[in-house]
Amino acid sequence: MRERKAFSVIYVEQEAMGRKETEGILSRFPDAEVIVCGDYHEVFNRRRQSFSKQHRAPALILAVHHGELIHQGSPVCQSFREDCFYYASSIMNCPYDCTYCWLKGMYESGDLVVFVNLEDLFQAVEDMLGEHPVYLCVSYDTDLLAMEPVTGYASAWSRFAKEHEDLLIEIRTKGYGHLPSSMAVSERTILAYTLSPARAAEQFEHRAPATNQRIENLLEAQKAGFPVRLCFDPVLVYPSWKEDYATLFQTLDQKINWESIRDISVGTFRLSSDYMQRMRRQDPTSALLAYPYVCTDGFYHLPDTIEHEVETYVTKLCRDRVKEEKIFLWREV
């Protein structure tokens, strides 16, 4: 007996059966046990699931997304001063396992849901584009690049962005292997790499590529012609955070040309109190979650003095390297 492998069990909503995306995904897992369900909620929203046990080797759930497909950007997310800021969910949950990931607080299940009606999402975006330009985050509830070998959705989105002039998309990622050659290069697809100091990545961002690998990935993306955004969000606070961020920027100095970076996002830790409570219950030994954050208006964040110190310190590291207007704080201070 062994623990199952990731995606060795695939649940397929009856309505998702026979669709092009479903067939494509299933063909990548010929040995998977495929189980038909009526509605993905029957599996994804069961009571008392163990996120951590499931997430060790998640099942895949293929479903059809109904209802609102595009959502207005949340106030705790960086809008980069874009007026029409939206996000779209084509996958729920992530194959990576970051200690601080809010998805662990949001979802009951550690399994991953892939919505196979991507064309409906595209249609909804096109409807919006008929009215105004759109800035859309498409890797919001997942890491789309990490799921590329399973879904091919990052490529599909980059093709779609290339075809639509008034659309700007952001694919936020911690990187994955090599950039897929199927990604259509366009200035309207921003590849946004989340970077953390090597020590923090190792300690808090399990299964995600190491920091050096992410830097290699972003260089590859730049070389291919994609605009690249650097995200220090959240800046992780732990005993040696200051020295470690300084080292990270020194490493970047040696590897990247700061001029060629499109922009930089800096954000401090923030998490809804409901999510925090659930995550602390799931992982009571995490130092990062045990940090004595303060709760204001339903959100946990660093104590004001530390938050200010972190923002000032990291923005100074950025300001020493790029122009002020390229630096975005999730909350303009």
Partner: protein
């Protein structure tokens, strides 16, 4: 703790024998058998969904289920499609309500998986095949069983434990016709060794037990410090949180606390200031 359930004594008999379970009192109206060390409890539910729901609920009303407990049902089923075998049930379809249940399949077991349809009464295979041909949501290639309790057991247990803690094991005993108790026991005996092997393996995979505990010395120091700063309930909560964070981050908070304890602290107001300082020192360590 392992909670075993079977509908009938004849199904459970080989498990009761092998695990040396003895009759015990649990809840009124249900028959249970326990191991000597109390770590295994087998309960007979009786046949049918309603009996299964009643028995599982009655048991968990008097026994609080924990996160590392396992609930395993072992019993017979009629074979609708596939070959005679011992199966793990991967999906349960309740014929009365049309509802479905999906236990987690976190382990690869040395058993095939099957779909089960829970029926309100005994049916012959031919009738079942006719009735369930319409169940297009059940994949055609999966073995199909019919039973009378799986859905009830799952639903009642799922109010107390997670889907990762529920396993339904079903051996095929017949094709929908009634069989005698003696015949049932003999088929169960045939499959019980395999089932027990699987049960042992399921139980060997524990929950990620993550617990934070202070050492006795740290506990004593914390309590001295708390008394010394005249801590209120909220100050105590904050103090514990800081100490917990410090321990998990390998920050030595003890010398800092000892340092303060050497000084006088006359009031809670002063204690509050000291707590603030203590906090700053931990957060900047």
């Amino acid at each position: 703790m392992l909670y075993l359930f079977s509908a009938l004594y004849q199904e459970a008999a080989p498990l009761i024998d092998t695990l040396k379970l003895k009759k015990t009192d649990t809840a009124r109206g249900i028959d249970s058998f326990a191991s000597e060390d109390g770590s295994v409890l087998l309960t007979l539910t009786g046949t049918g969904n309603y009996n299964a729901i009643a028995a599982v609920s009655a048991l968990f009303a008097v026994r609080e289920a924990k996160r590392d407990d396992q609930v395993i049902f072992y019993g017979s089923a009629a074979l609708v499609r596939g070959s005679a075998f011992l199966y793990r049930v991967r999906e349960i379809h309740d014929s009365a309500t049309g509802r479905r249940a999906f236990p987690d399949l976190l382990l690869t077991l040395p058993l095939p998986d099957a779909a089960a349809i829970t029926l309100p009464r005994v049916m012959r295979t031919r009738t079942m095949v006719r009735t369930f041909a319409a169940h297009e949501e059940i994949g055609e290639s999966v073995p199909l069983l019919a039973d009378m309790e799986s859905y009830g057991v799952y639903e009642a247990a799922a109010r107390h434990v997670g889907p990762d803690q529920i396993t339904i094991l079903r051996f095929t005993s017949d094709a929908g016709e009634k069989i005698s108790g003696r015949q049932m026991q003999s088929v169960s005996e045939q499959y019980a060794p395999g089932a027990l092997e699987v049960i042992r393996e399921i139980c060997s995979v524990g929950e990620d037990q993550k617990e934070v505990k202070l050492s006795d010395e740290d506990e004593a120091l914390l309590s001295r410090f708390s008394g010394w700063i005249h801590a209120s309930v909220s100050m105590n909560t904050e103090l514990s949180r800081l100490v917990n964070y410090a321990n998990l981050s390998a920050i030595s908070w003890q010398p800092i606390a000892e340092e303060y304890l050497a000084l006088p602290c006359r009031s809670r107001v002063q204690g509050k200031k000291i707590l603030e300082e203590f906090r700053e020192r931990i957060l900047h360590a």
